[in-house]
């Protein structure tokens, strides 16, 4: 357990001391500012109400859940795996008294920590922006629901990151793996539109899982069914990713 804890703390420290993560967090902040400016423009230009302080964090989540969040998750995932493979710095960790399973688990946990941090930062900033610039209708109960939606959206992003981890362990070059991932993401998104009857099986569909948590009466059967499917994908992707990570020569 001590080795796993050490590996996790190291991964976190490495992750948050890199410029990429700071840039990702700054861009998240800029997205909120830009979103708020658009709302203000619509309100003053067209005389429309725009959104309330309650709706603004949800509006932000609906935009970032299918755009910058998967993108940042991909960047961080490839930084944790492909980048370390390419520069041989993975050997630094591999030659310490810690098993490959613990290293792999620590890396995945660090990526999830980044996802949660990014989401909570977005929630905090969008709530603040909503308070300052929009019609104030936010209550503690509605904010709790929003918090739940933000936390829920972290789970499909984790599953997506496990798919990216698998790709990073298959494709050696970090640039190639990034472009393959972007293309795969777009293909899965398009498949969800053109073959909507099978969209329930596509990983990218679950990025909208948070919407289920915003309903007045939670559709537990649907939430549970999608959760079970994601767990299934998660187990398979984690196992396949670890198998390749473990068998690799460094």
């Amino acid at each position: 357990m001590a080795a796993l804890q050490a590996a996790f703390l190291n991964e976190i420290e490495k992750l948050f001391k890199k410029r990429k993560v700071s840039v990702a967090l700054i861009i998240s902040f800029l997205v909120i500012i830009a979103g708020q400016l658009v709302i203000l423009g619509v309100r003053s230009g067209f005389g429309l109400r725009g959104v309330s302080s309650q709706e603004f964090p949800i509006l932000v989540l609906s935009i970032v859940a299918n755009s910058i969040l998967p993108l940042f998750t991909a960047l961080v995932t490839f930084d944790c795996f492909s980048s370390e493979f390419n520069h041989n710095i993975i050997r630094i960790t591999l030659t310490r008294p810690v098993s490959r399973l613990k290293i792999f688990a620590a890396k995945v946990a660090a990526i999830y920590s980044f996802i949660i941090t990014n989401l909570l930062l977005l929630l905090l900033l969008s709530t603040l922006a909503g308070f300052l610039f929009n019609v104030n209708s936010l209550t503690l109960a509605s904010w709790s629901k929003i918090l739940l939606a933000y936390l829920a959206s972290s789970f499909p992003l984790l599953i997506l990151s496990l798919l990216l981890v698998l790709l990073a362990n298959i494709i050696k070059n970090s640039i190639t793996v990034f472009f393959v991932s972007v293309i795969l993401f777009l293909v899965l998104k398009a498949a969800g539109v053109f073959f909507s009857q099978y969209s329930g099986l596509l990983l990218t569909t679950y990025l909208d899982w948070y919407k289920l948590w915003l309903a007045n009466f939670l559709p537990w059967d649907k939430i549970l069914r999608q959760f079970c499917l994601m767990i299934g994908y998660g187990i398979m992707l984690f196992t396949a990713g670890f198998y390749l990570f473990d068998k690799k020569d460094y």
Partner: protein, 250 residues
């Protein structure tokens, strides 16, 4: 010799790559406190053997034990006694020298800030501790790699070309450090180096590997009784094997 005094045991270690290179049926025992020099021409299999000894690659056959712990089945236990520097001294370029060592220190409960200062002092990096390795020269990176290898006071040090990139002063310092650790802390060394004169001055026993096969193992004392220099012994062993190989009809 009882098993407890055997620092390193290598049995039938085999790892062959697709190009036919690698190591074949390597058998070796190294006692505690020995400074073992591993000599061989380029591509002979030195680094492959060292990578298999530190778990960076999985052997096709055979096993390696460090103080009785299998590197395959008891990785954490085996590596808790090992410090190593394989191929190139890797470090995280975005972290300072101090932070790099702090990351390593997390895996060892007995390593504290004082020990980090100590190894930085021993390797002559104390005044550069706040600088990032991306600005380091090759020699300074090598010193940082050595600092990381000795940080945990390991009982076994596996060093692949440890003097790479060091200036004359640095080489003398490293030689003295190796001798000091072997004599005073009974650290066992497994060193590969192309600087044959340094091996002669530092090692107590030498093994010659050629084409992936261990040709001979002898003490430095015996070698220097029969040959004028270690270089003469090495050339004689390699040439003898080379003639044998070339005399076999293809």
């Amino acid at each position: 010799m009882t098993s407890s005094y055997r620092a390193i045991e290598i049995k039938n270690l085999t790892k062959l790559y697709a190009n036919g290179r690698g190591i074949n049926d390597l058998n070796l025992e190294i006692s505690q406190g020995e400074v073992f020099g591993f000599l061989g021409p380029n591509g002979a299999g030195k680094t492959t053997a060292m990578k298999a000894m530190t778990g960076l690659i999985r052997p096709d056959r055979g096993e390696v034990k460090i103080f009785g712990h299998s590197i395959i089945d008891q990785y954490e236990l085996a590596m808790s006694q090992v410090g190593c520097l394989i191929e190139t001294a890797e470090s995280y370029p975005f972290l300072s020298a101090w932070d790099n060592l702090k990351l390593h220190a997390r895996y060892y409960p007995n390593v504290d800030a004082k020990r980090i200062e100590e190894v930085l002092g021993l390797t002559g990096l104390l005044k550069y501790k706040d600088e990032k390795p991306r600005r380091f020269s090759l020699g300074m990176k090598q010193r940082l790699g050595l600092a990381a290898a000795i940080l945990s006071r390991p009982k076994v040090l596996i060093l692949d070309e440890p003097l790479n990139g060091l200036d004359v002063e640095g080489m003398i310092e490293m030689r003295n450090l190796i001798k000091y650790l072997a004599e005073n802390e009974h650290t066992t060394f497994f060193i590969s180096s192309h600087l044959i004169h340094d091996v002669e001055l530092t090692c107590t026993r030498v093994g010659v590997i050629y084409n992936g096969t261990l040709l001979s193992v002898d003490t430095m004392e015996n070698i220097l009784q029969n040959f004028a220099t270690l270089e003469n012994y090495f050339v004689s062993e390699v040439e003898r094997n080379g003639r044998t190989s070339s005399s076999i009809p293809q």
